[in-house]
Symmetry: C2
Subunit: 200 residues, 2 copies
């Protein structure tokens, strides 16, 4: 139950149905996995889900992608759950990479965002996952003011989850939910490398 | 890449394959959804997954459960991914509930843990999700020392994810990864109630 009822002129029903803008940020793990865990709930509700990856490497999100492709197939074959569209246009790089393909990365991120923006106007999906989107904002590949305006003006009931470190304060101000994931203990500190099934 | 290589006598290969004990704690959102997002990766690897819920209400994890039951069916029908077993023996209550069924809740949590403990000895699953398990520890329904011993002595390569607020320090000491989820902004503060597709 809410701690208090705000004086915003909305009914409880309207407030409850307010489209969610969820930001998962911080240096710890779980930003993207929590987004995909929430997407499982959306799938169960039969919602149309669009996942947009703004960073990519060879193994990046491959497990999640395979699982959601399987869930999309379940939807197409049996009508259970909702449809899932997965867009991974990024090049193979990590967020520490510097290289000659930077302009291309910027161009792909920019084009992916323009695609998302058009889909928001068309109310294409009920849930959007903009995975690692904060890096595109941070590097200026996507204009933050344009993003804020598109999100603030999105019509209907379209929920959006944005993940990545260092989410800008203006985005957090607009969000309905902001969670910071903090690494209390990280396996890489103990010399452990990432492993299949856990890290991807 | 790791920051440093520890002097623990293990090869890189052994260290990389060290079974993960992941604790998702803190007052923010994303503890359980991150666990289920990670379980998608495990499913994709074809691992056997056991999910054990230590708290339950009518809508509790219903979206995640439906999705993983669909993924389990995909595995059975096509061999893709891994098998998923979902155990939800808890009664319908929230962690603020006080009532006459408390002994029964304690008994169910205790029995569920004994089931998990036996499965760890038998190496039944490659990944265990002990959802909201910290509450069972906090209330003494399950003996923390017994849990620590069972986890420390688990044979083979069995990964375990434990979720819930106020994870005990001894558990964090044993863990390979500890992440704290902190609520920077929470929708309930703004008078918003939980909604299907996002909160369950």
């Amino acid at each position: 139950m809410p701690d208090q009822v705000p004086d915003d002129g909305l009914t409880t029903r309207e407030r409850r149905r307010r489209p969610a803008l969820i930001v998962n940020t911080g240096d710890g793990k779980g930003k993207s996995t929590a987004a995909f865990g929430t997407a499982l709930r959306a799938w169960h509700q039969g919602w149309s889900i669009g996942v947009f990856q703004f960073l990519k490497s060879s193994s990046w999100r491959s497990g999640e992608r395979a699982a959601f492709e399987a869930l999309d197939a379940v939807h197409r074959e049996s009508g259970t759950g909702g449809p899932v569209t997965w867009v991974a246009d990024g090049l193979g790089f990590t967020w520490t990479t510097r290289g000659s393909d930077l302009d291309t990365q910027a161009e792909i991120a920019h084009a992916t965002w323009q695609h998302v923006r058009a889909q928001l106007v068309d109310q294409k999906h009920r849930l959007y996952v903009l995975d690692e989107f904060t890096y595109a904002l941070e590097r200026g590949w996507v204009d933050t003011d344009e993003v804020l305006q598109a999100l603030a003006e999105r019509p209907g009931t379209q929920h959006v989850i944005i993940t990545g470190r260092r989410a800008p304060q203006t985005l957090c101000d607009l969000a309905t939910t902001v969670t910071e994931m903090t690494a209390v203990k990280h396996p890489f500190e103990a010399g452990q490398k990432g492993q299949a099934g856990i890290e991807w």
